[in-house]
């Protein structure tokens, strides 16, 4: 009787949890899903002009092309306080900034945007805000004339039975388990601990490996961009965007950053700017919108803009001096 009671109460315990999670997923009662960052895309006159082919570059103007995802686009913050607006205000002389960053952009999207706009906009500076998860995209298949490989006949495996199958079935059914495990991972991540499962672990530990197709493709694309920039005599700034809620846990990105730095060191046409250095020893709470999300807040955008404005001013002075020396 006691065992039955225990089973009953335990089942009710999990059922109540399952029910509440499902209600929350269905109706988002408190409207505070941790990953939900409001994104508004600004209508841009300049972009429209360029797209229609009506743009004529002014030789006296400094043109900056901003590329990236929602982190640099400014998800969750007002338009006036976003990076590109701040940068434009900080660079006192006449500058023209074309911000083609878009939420959810991957390296492939950024690359395609670059190819489309650089030709028409002719930027002197290409500012590419690289987010560590930009590497996730499916590589377009290229038609091949090669004959398809003949695969060996599929082996027939016995159906999995037992605990493992039961657990996987339960996992696929239960929203509660999914919710709880992802939240535990988030909480641990916020404390600087990463479990050797899940997307974040895969991304930081397994994706930036030499043999990984996406990393190979990303490098290829960045090489092409840097080559085009060199030909056009524009400066290609590859900005490593920090994960702002994890500023105090840079060790989580150690392996990834090592690979990334090795790559950029091998390509002299890329100016690598590690954004994390500008936030060293800072408390991440100051720069975040939500503790579960890595987007920078207004202060974060302002800090990036200030640093990049300074960097661009120095670069411009150097270029100016070089020309005059010659």
């Amino acid at each position: 009787m006691k065992a039955l009671k225990f089973i009953l109460y335990t089942s009710v315990f999990f059922l109540v949890g399952e029910l509440i999670v499902r209600i929350d997923l269905e109706y988002d009662l408190l409207n505070n899903s941790p990953h939900k960052i409001e994104v508004k895309i600004e209508e841009s006159e300049l972009r429209n002009k360029i797209e229609k082919g009506n743009f004529i570059p002014n030789p006296n103007q400094t043109r900056i092309l901003v590329i990236g995802d929602s982190y640099i686009n400014g998800g969750g913050i007002s338009i006036e306080k976003r990076f590109s607006k701040r940068l434009s205000n900080l660079l006192e002389e006449e500058v023209l900034i074309l911000d083609i960053s878009r939420p959810s952009n991957s390296t492939l999207d950024n690359y395609n945007s670059f190819m489309f706009y650089q030709e028409k906009f002719k930027p002197q500076f290409v500012f590419w805000a690289y987010n560590f998860n930009d590497i996730l995209y499916s590589i377009p298949e290229v038609n091949s004339s090669k004959k398809p490989k003949i695969l060996p006949p599929k082996r027939v495996y016995k159906k999995k039975i037992g605990v493992k199958k039961y657990v996987s079935q339960l996992y696929s059914f239960s929203e509660l388990i999914r919710y709880t495990s992802s939240n535990i991972q988030k909480q641990l991540k916020f404390q600087g601990i990463v479990m050797p499962v899940g997307e974040f672990y895969q991304l930081t530990q397994k994706t930036y490996l030499e043999k990984n197709k996406n990393w190979i493709d990303t490098k290829k694309k960045l090489n092409t961009v840097s080559q085009i920039c060199k030909t056009n005599q524009s400066k290609f700034i590859l900005y490593r965007m920090p994960e702002f809620n994890l500023l105090n846990h840079s060790n989580l990105f150690h392996s990834l950053d090592e690979k990334f730095v090795n790559y950029v060191n091998s390509n002299k046409n890329i100016t690598y700017y590690n954004g994390i250095n500008d936030f060293e020893n800072e408390n991440s709470d100051k720069f975040i919108l939500s503790k579960y999300d890595g987007h920078p807040n207004e202060l974060g955008h302002f800090r990036i803009a200030k640093k990049i404005a300074k960097y661009i001013m120095v670069e411009k002075t150097r270029t100016y001096n070089n020309i005059h020396k010659k």
């Binding site: 009710v12 509440i20 409207n31 503790k291």
Partner: protein, 479 residues
């Protein structure tokens, strides 16, 4: 250390295990463990201010002993005032120095005299208003010979720094808490379970109700000029539940944690939003502070004795001081004055003790008259909270002006129906348990056992799932 943090979730079980399994055979060791744990708990925030607690503890311990042996009444008075001046001196310096300085400068500049004085960048030590009042109650009670001074320094240190209630109360009286440190504590399973339930309820109030209300209250109060009157009303209501959930939630966690260690603290909130008049509200809101002021300020001033003017003066003094205790800002003083104005009519007509029983006792619902009275009292409270929450008096006035404008009848720009549903659920639970010590206390009838368990599960999962993604500190830490 915050109650709703991972640090505390690790700290509490460790202290619990050490307390009941390692130090359980020796009372002194148990008390010493409490002092060490309390100092660690406080020092986690800023260890430098531990010196203030230690100094207060030493001063009051010594003065208490002197007060016992001293027969000369004048010398006893001097000893008492030494304690009052030391404790209130710290409080005055850390909490009110800049306020008085700024107001003096403003007052002199009003008469055309410019005074050059620099305000100091003072950090307010967390919980100073709470432990100062707690130690003061000890010296005053010893002075009045209501309490024997303790000879046990460790027990006294435990009483002053007892971590569950150190930073935000309840403000315990020495007469209630100190003797509990002299007697052997035995682990009581049912008391511990009850403590856990109260902690759970406190977490629900803080994490689910207060923190989620805070998000909306902050948006609305910080951008009040952009919203319609109806939204501003909602903002004030959200703050009303935020402050209640936040503060009473802290008290519940504190009382529950104390029970885990075998201590009984007094109830600090008795379902104040079901009050039928403002006197009942003040009997059930922050009870430990209200009774402190009653016993150590209001009664020594003469209380309700004397003529009408004396009564009015005493009521105003107690409410203004209570407001000022909350913070060095005119908004708190106005909040106190407003409550005094609410209270005076029923006090002067001797109606302040009309509602001593539990509302709708032994009934499911209140009668219409009771319901209307509850709504009226709640409305008055919401109105007063606007001053409490506003940045300054100007902000409060413009907020109220915007409420009483034609836009009051417009659709609210913000209407978080999910949060409102949760608040209704919260009120429902509090209503059915309004005759108990806290909202989630076990149902006494066996036939409701399953319902009781179900409720526990709902509350537990709500905390896990509906926690706010923003980290919100306890409001009363700033007091």
């Amino acid at each position: 250390m915050l109650f709703n943090s991972l640090d505390f979730a690790i700290f509490l079980p460790i202290v619990f295990i050490l307390y009941w399994f390692v130090a359980n055979k020796n009372l002194k060791l148990q008390n010493f463990l409490i002092v060490a744990a309390s100092y660690l708990f406080y020092g986690w925030w800023d260890w430098r201010f531990l010196s203030l607690i230690l100094f207060s503890t030493i001063v009051d311990f010594m003065l208490g002993k002197k007060l016992r042996s001293e027969k000369n009444q004048l010398k006893r008075k001097v000893l008492l005032w030494t304690s009052v001046l030391v404790n209130l001196g710290f409080l005055g310096f850390f909490k009110y120095y800049n306020f008085f300085l700024d107001n003096f400068i403003t007052a002199f500049s009003f008469f055309g005299q410019d005074i050059q004085a620099n305000s100091l960048n003072i950090i307010l030590p967390v919980g100073i208003s709470f432990y100062t009042f707690q130690t003061l109650s000890y010296t005053i009670d010893v002075y009045k010979r209501k309490l024997e001074p303790t000879k046990d320094f460790i027990a006294f240190s435990s009483f002053v720094s007892f971590f569950p209630q150190l930073v935000a109360g309840p403000i315990e009286r020495a007469t209630n808490l100190l003797p509990q440190f002299y007697t052997k504590r035995h682990f009581d399973y049912s008391k511990a379970v009850d403590g856990m339930r109260q902690i759970l309820w406190g977490l629900f109030k803080k994490i689910v109700i207060a923190d989620n209300c805070a998000q909306y209250a902050n948006i609305i109060f910080n951008n009040s000029s952009e919203y319609s009157g109806s939204t501003l009303v909602l903002g004030a209501i959200f703050f009303t539940f935020q402050i209640y959930g936040d503060f009473s939630g802290y008290s519940d966690i504190a009382i529950g944690t104390s029970r885990l260690f075998g201590f009984n603290l007094k109830q600090n909130f008795a379902f104040p939003y079901f009050s039928r008049d403002i006197a009942e509200f003040w009997r059930s809101w922050h009870i430990s502070l209200s009774t402190w002021f009653k016993d150590y300020l209001y009664i020594p001033l003469g209380g309700s004795r004397g003529g009408t003017w004396n009564k009015i003066r005493n009521v105003f003094i107690i409410f203004l001081v209570s407001g000022f205790w909350h913070g060095a800002n005119w908004t708190f003083i106005i909040w106190g004055a407003l409550n005094a104005l609410y209270f005076l009519p029923i006090f002067l007509t001797n109606n302040n003790r009309n509602n001593l029983d539990i509302v709708a006792h032994n009934k499911y619902l209140p009668c219409i008259k009771e319901f209307l009275l509850i709504c009226l009292t709640f409305g008055l409270t919401v109105f007063a909270w606007i001053f409490f929450r506003a940045e300054n008096i100007g902000h409060a006035i413009s907020y109220i002006k915007a409420i009483f404008s034609p836009s009051l009848f417009e659709h609210s720009e913000i209407f978080p129906s999910g949060l409102l549903l949760l608040i209704l659920f919260f009120l429902f639970i509090e209503w059915i348990n309004r005759n108990k010590q806290y909202g989630l206390e076990k149902f006494s009838k066996q036939k409701f056992k399953f319902l009781d368990v179900l409720l526990l599960y709902i509350v537990f999962w709500s905390i896990i799932i509906w926690n706010s993604s923003k980290k919100v500190e306890f409001i009363y830490f700033q007091f």
